[in-house]
Amino acid sequence: MTVYLLCFALFLVGLYGVLAKRDLIKIILSIGIMGYAANLFLILFGYKRGATFPILTGANPGPMVDPLPQALVLTSIVIELGTTALLVALVVRLFQKYGTFDIAKIRRLRG
């Protein structure tokens, strides 16, 4: 259970960054931290003690870890890259318009 709790603590560090930071770049990095923690938690959940990676090497394989969360997390990591690129593009555009990364100063949401 200790590893689960530590992984959740990593998620909460990211949540703290989203809640308390005013810098938009820090907020992007916090969302990235939350993504790391979510992916890692799924893989921790599928780990089987004493098992090997799910690749068949010989005729008589031993116990192997769960391949399903690995496949879905593989998908999730790639989507995370697209999301990060989209967030970075939004922030670059906001910087061009307002000249600051401070969310307390970006208030005029008119065209």
Partner: protein, 183 residues
């Protein structure tokens, strides 16, 4: 040494790195600290017997670092001045996170213990994956055969995200004469 010891070490390292990245003033240093955290995730995937994921996470780290550095370097004139609101926000954030952590401890007690997964569906993938799909790598057999629609959806989301990036970063409007706005 059991795998938990390594995992506790890497997770503690990652939590420390994240806090450092969030609290540093210099933006380049915090981007690099986030890169170190991502490499910690990659190492944890290796300990958890997921080599494919470790490689993908490593590549993700490199691309994310390139994107972030390319976008934000040279824009360091954004030193935020400290304000009382900022300090109140920090205290409220830390309190909220601590309360959430304490409240969620009973939930983690209900989960199956570490190292003993349920594996109802995936046992079939492990037993019959090689004969049904012919792939030696069972992760590949899941993403490309059993759950191929999921991969199709992933590619669609990625395509939509890239389209969004180009739509946001486009500097000139496409039909200037047709639209009513003159900006």
């Amino acid at each position: 040494m059991p795998v938990e010891t390594w995992l506790i070490f890497t997770l503690g390292f990652m939590i420390f790195g994240s806090i450092v990245a969030l609290e540093l003033k210099d933006i380049l240093s915090s981007i690099i600290a986030i890169g170190v955290v991502g490499l910690g995730v990659s190492m944890s995937f290796l300990f958890l017997q997921a080599p494919d994921l470790a490689i993908v996470q490593f590549l993700f780290e490199i691309f994310a670092l390139i994107i972030l550095v390319r976008a934000f370097i040279g824009k360091e004139n954004h030193q935020l001045e400290a304000s009382p609101t900022n300090r109140i926000l920090t205290v409220i954030g830390i309190l909220a996170v601590l309360v959430l952590f304490i409240v969620s401890i009973p939930v983690f007690k209900l989960l199956p213990p570490f190292g003993e997964p349920l594996m109802n569906v995936s046992q079939h993938y492990l037993d019959a994956g090689a004969t049904e799909t012919g792939a030696a790598n069972l992760v590949a057999s899941v993403i490309l055969d059993y759950r191929a629609y999921d991969t199709l959806g992933e590619v669609t989301v990625l395509f939509a995200a890239i389209l969004g990036v180009f739509a946001i970063l486009r500097s000139t409007a496409k039909h200037k004469a047709a639209g009513g706005s003159h900006e």
